[in-house]
């Protein structure tokens, strides 16, 4: 191949029609911008985690446990030395006497100099060191506002009063969305015992933080002690572990968003393929002539390939620049989900990789239409009626198809960082595109059949969808995919939130829960509820226990088998209950519910997933360690539990008459419709029974809804790039067929069509395109969300009629406006000018 010729021709050919070709370049711009933004952000994120990791833990290492640290752990800590501090975390009702208000608060009792690294910022400043100077607390500002008090006031935590000396401005490692899950308070740990809240049934997390002496190796210490303390259920964290874990979790989130961004790039590839196809079609005579004067087919493919590559490079570079700008906006969008302050710096690596990906995708997608150039017979320069030759199996074409498939697969795997995820993603993308392609084919097939009875403008507009060289399929693929992503996010969010809906007046679900009620307090709590005229559900007993043996094998033996799945099921503490009936959130799958007299071995019902984790079925024996007492049980049934319901659900339910004498607490649920009544009830119970925790489930619902809102906002933002690409493809499709449209318009005007009629025809065409794209997207989005609801979230699928209609209408409207804006110049041309131009051309 004569390279100088190919390069020169490519450059000269691109000179003319630059605006049209610029759209080819713009096809990949949005996709590259999205990828560069998210990948650059991920790099910033990793750097920031590395820089701030030590402050996240606030120490070199920590020992954490759900129960008071056993002697073995204490001995380990003594031998490690260094400087140590403790933080004991538990939930409690805080009660403000001045406003007579109570609020569930996450308490953190601190002793020693934690945090050793990083600073806890307070308002007023520098109050942290004085926390341990008396009965002091430093609280989230939201606690002050919800209790209606100010700095200087006191709050009761259990049996002790503390003075609020400051509010928290920033804690290293805090996630913005955290505040949605209830306020937090740091108290002087010296007065922890005096609160009287760490009694039976309390959920407490004990942590000891260690600052090692110079030269201490946290990782080595952790590795040394982990195996010895595992059995005692003590977890050891180091800065490096935390960093790796956080890095992993956040990279997964970023990779997922990156995949959404990749969709935009792949759609851009489709746009490039379509634009190249039309571009080539206009060049057939030139190609034939050049073949006549000696150009080889490889040279001709080379000319247009170089042209496409150069344009894609320009488009990708522009995308990379835009991506760096967008990257600066991402911390604001994702900041609330991330525990570090992400420091922005442009990532040249992400920009380079994004540009190369854009180039790669554009070239891969351009190749397929470019191969047609090889088939242009030189004879076409002499005779117009000569068509492309088609002989035998075209290995180049097959290879190009394979390369295209491989491109989608490799990019998906690379962007997801995981082979299987990438493969599933690539498969899904291809499947959705195939379905959209079917929708487009169906529409074009229907166009001729349904248009007959329509008014003129609609008939002409719908028929335009199948005009020669139409790009209906490409446009439906590109816009439809973007709308599909948005529809799926919207529907999934709606389905999840509707399942959790307890705040709407129509909901009959309980919205307040009181837990940690001691048996002696049950009657008292019940009478408070009764006095308030509140209908409470029957109280439910909670008995903490652990697995001692499964089918005769001790749990320690089972745990030693590291190859075994589901070791969490052996480790965890179970909170079980007893009942004589199934509840509405449960369904019996196997075995029988208990009837008749109690056999020698007590009967239990086990939740399905747990039975799979433990590898047990009906008839198997499990021995439970209930605070030191071994209780043998036999599995009588397996249940399915709808965990999404705000109800007390259990992995294990005992038959009555077994656990009644074991130490237990009670939980009561109630429906209290009015928010002020909920506040009053919480206050009354907190005043009388400080250890009883009242939880307003509407706060939880609100928190989940805010969290989902943050996550879906980020996904939607990325999905918007796909829709943007769809619009660029639409503009490109309209621009490439501009000549044809202008000629049609001139013809219609010559025949007497008014400008208004021409606009009506264009509107009808783009409305039809947008409607088909939007409807297909909605149907596919429903299918995807239904699958997610069924297999991932395990909740019933719900279709929000209003939002769905709005989505389809918006897609149609945006398509219509973009189409109209691009096509408007068609109606501005004078018929004579156009027809003369046609005659001359």
């Amino acid at each position: 191949m004569t390279l100088p010729f190919v390069l020169r021709m490519a450059g000269r050919e691109a000179r003319a029609g630059f605006r049209r070709l610029a759209l080819l370049a713009a096809g990949v711009t949005a996709g590259v911008a999205a990828l560069v933004a998210i990948n650059g952000f991920t790099e910033n994120l990793r750097d920031s985690i590395a820089q701030q990791a030590q402050a996240l833990l606030g120490a070199d290492l920590s020992f954490e446990s759900r129960s008071a640290l056993p002697d073995r752990a204490r001995a380990a800590l003594d031998s490690i030395g260094g400087t140590q501090a403790t933080v004991t975390t538990f939930s409690a009702m805080t009660y403000a006497g001045r406003s007579e208000t109570a609020r569930l608060t996450q308490m953190n009792a601190v002793t020693g100099g934690w945090p050793f690294y990083g600073r806890i910022e307070t308002e007023p400043a520098n109050a942290w060191p004085t926390l341990q100077g008396g009965r002091n607390v430093i609280v989230d500002p939201s606690l002050l506002s919800s209790l209606g008090i100010a700095i200087g006031d006191s709050i009761a935590v259990g049996d002790t009063h503390f003075q609020v000396i400051a509010t928290i401005a920033a804690v290293p490692g805090d996630v913005g969305i955290r505040s949605a899950f209830g306020p937090r308070a740091f108290m002087n740990g010296a007065f922890l015992d005096s609160t009287g809240l760490l009694g039976f049934g309390a959920r407490v997390e004990y942590a000891v933080f260690v600052k090692l002496p110079p030269g201490g190796n946290a990782q080595r210490i952790a590795e040394q002690w982990r195996p010895r303390l595992r059995e005692a259920r003590v977890r050891i964290h180091t800065v490096a572990d935390d960093q790796a874990r956080l890095d992993n979790a956040l990279t997964r989130l970023a990779n997922f968003l990156g995949l959404v961004a990749l969709v935009a790039l792949l759609l851009g590839g489709l746009g490039v393929a379509s634009a190249v196809h039309v571009h080539i079609r206009g060049k057939l005579e030139t190609v034939a002539m050049l073949r006549c004067v000696g150009a080889t087919s490889r040279q001709m493919v080379g000319v247009y390939l170089v042209q496409a590559a150069l344009l894609a490079l320009v488009g990708s570079l522009a995308g990379a620049l835009i991506g760096i700008l967008v990257q600066q906006a991402l911390p604001a969008l994702l900041g609330d989900l991330i525990p570090v302050d992400v420091v922005f710096h442009p990532s040249w690596r992400a920009a380079l990789v994004g540009t190369l990906m854009g180039l790669w995708v554009a070239v891969a997608f351009a190749l397929l239409p470019l191969l047609e150039v090889r088939r242009v017979p030189p004879l076409a320069a002499l005779r117009r009626d000569v068509s492309a030759e088609r002989t035998g199996r075209d290995w180049w074409r097959i290879a190009t198809f394979l390369a295209l498939g491989l491109t989608v697969l490799l990019l998906s795997v690379w962007q997801s960082g995981h082979l299987m995820t990438g493969a599933i993603f690539a498969g899904s993308v291809v499947a959705v595109l195939a379905l959209l392609w079917c929708a487009a084919a169906l529409v074009m097939w229907l166009a001729r059949r349904v248009s007959a009875g329509l008014p003129y403008a609609w008939r002409q507009g719908v028929l335009n969808l199948r005009r020669p060289s139409n790009q209906t399929t490409t446009v439906i693929l590109a816009i439809g995919f973007g709308a599909f992503l948005l529809a799926t996010v919207l529907l999934a969010q709606h389905t999840l939130l509707r399942t959790l809906d307890i705040s709407s007046p129509s909901s009959a679900n309980d919205n307040m829960v009181f837990f940690d009620i001691q048996p002696s307090q049950l009657a008292g709590v019940d009478s408070i509820l009764h006095d308030g005229g509140i209908a409470a559900s029957p109280p439910v007993a909670i008995v903490p226990m652990r697995v001692a043996s499964v089918r005769g094998v001790a749990v320690t033996t089972l745990q030693a088998d590291t190859a075994r799945d589901g070791r969490w099921a052996l480790r965890r503490e179970y909170r079980s209950t007893w009942r004589d009936t199934l509840v509405s959130s449960e369904k019996l799958l196997a075995g029988q519910w208990w009837t008749g007299p109690r056999p020698d071995t007590a009967r239990i019902s086990v939740e399905r997933d747990l039975s799979e984790e433990l590898g047990i079925s009906v008839g198997d024996v499990i021995v439970w360690n209930v605070q030191g007492t071994m209780i043998p049980t036999r599995v009588a049934s397996i249940r399915e539990v709808d965990w999404a319901r705000f109800e007390p659900n259990f992995f294990v339910v005992f038959e009555p008459g077994v656990l009644e004498d074991a130490p237990h607490t009670w939980v009561t649920l109630a429906r209290v419709p009015r928010p002020e009544s909920r506040g009053l009830l919480a206050r009354r119970i907190a005043a009388q029974y400080p250890n009883v925790t009242s939880l307003d489930l509407t706060f939880v619902q609100d928190a989940i809804s805010r969290l989902l809102g943050k996550v879906t906002l980020a996904i939607r933002f990325m999905a918007l790039f796909s829709l943007l690409t769809g619009m660029v493809v639409l503009v490109g499709a309209i621009a490439t067929s501009r000549f044809q449209r202008v000629r049609e318009g001139a013809l219609l005007r010559t025949l007497g069509a008014s400008r208004r009629q021409l606009i009506a025809v264009a509107l009808a065409e783009y409305a039809a395109l947008g409607l088909v794209a939007g409807l297909s997207a909605l149907i596919l989005g429903c299918a995807a969300t239904w699958a997610l609801a069924r297999w991932v979230f395990q909740v019933p699928f719900m279709l929000p009629g209003g939002a769905a209609t709005l989505l389809v209408a918006c897609t149609a409207l945006v398509t219509m406006l973009v189409g109209l804006w691009t096509a408007l110049d068609v109606s501005r041309q004078t018929p004579l000018g156009v027809l003369r131009g046609v005659m001359e051309g």
Partner: protein, 222 residues
């Protein structure tokens, strides 16, 4: 210089076969000037396309400047054309995105030896000095065909094929083009094969082959 034997070209047509060229045998000596004439649909352009290697015959062989075309690949034939053949088309076939000068340069660039001076010289020879940087759309039909002539001669072809070179031009402009083509042919000693309806042009050829229904009905020397 050109020899074809038993040249036949058929196309599948509506379930049957349409034979547009039947068993043509002819040869053209070096430096010769052959005009192929005949009514529309007689197979003139098909014959020209086959002689130039732009199409494959259904049967028969073509030898161009000593090379059997059926022994070459498609790209091999393209290279042969690039080195030894020039073309003039009825519809000029200039690349609309290239200037006059760039259009003339194309064959030389394909050979990897662009020669700006020669392109300038040829444009001057066809009377377009000073119009080198004009695009085809900025030139009249006659001027466009002159650019095409300059392009056809730029690689000093041993054979020039012309398909109705005056077909899209008025009589006066057509005459100028014929004179130019003749002049360039004389100056370069090129073998000339042209398809034409134009009797004036055919009269200037040293030999005229007349086709009807795909067969040679007369072959006369001037």
């Amino acid at each position: 210089m050109i020899r074809c034997e038993g040249l036949t070209r058929s196309y599948p047509s509506g379930g049957g076969t349409l034979t547009v060229l039947k068993n043509i045998t002819l040869s053209v000596e070096p430096g010769g000037f052959l005009a192929i004439v005949g009514p529309s649909g007689s197979g003139k352009t098909t014959l020209l396309g086959l002689l130039a290697g732009l199409d494959h015959p259904s049967s028969g062989t073509v030898t161009l400047d000593g090379v059997r075309l059926d022994t070459l690949t498609e790209d091999g034939r393209a290279r042969l054309r690039g080195e030894r053949v020039g073309f003039v088309f009825q519809s000029f076939q200039l690349v609309p995105t290239l200037t006059a000068l760039e259009n003339v340069l194309v064959p030389l660039e394909l050979l990897g030896r662009p020669d700006m001076a020669r392109a300038h010289q040829l444009l001057a020879d066809v009377g377009l000095a000073g119009r080198e940087h004009h695009y085809p759309a900025q030139l009249s039909g006659g001027e466009q065909q002159r650019v095409a002539l300059a392009r056809a001669f730029v690689n000093t072809p041993r054979i020039l094929f012309a398909d109705e070179p005056t077909g899209n031009l008025d009589a006066a402009t057509g005459a100028t083009i014929i004179a130019l083509m003749h002049q360039l042919n004389q100056a370069n000693g090129t073998t000339l094969v042209l398809v034409t309806h134009d009797q004036l042009l055919a009269d200037r050829a040293r030999r005229t082959v007349r086709l009807a229904d795909g067969e040679i009905v007369s072959d006369s020397a001037a």
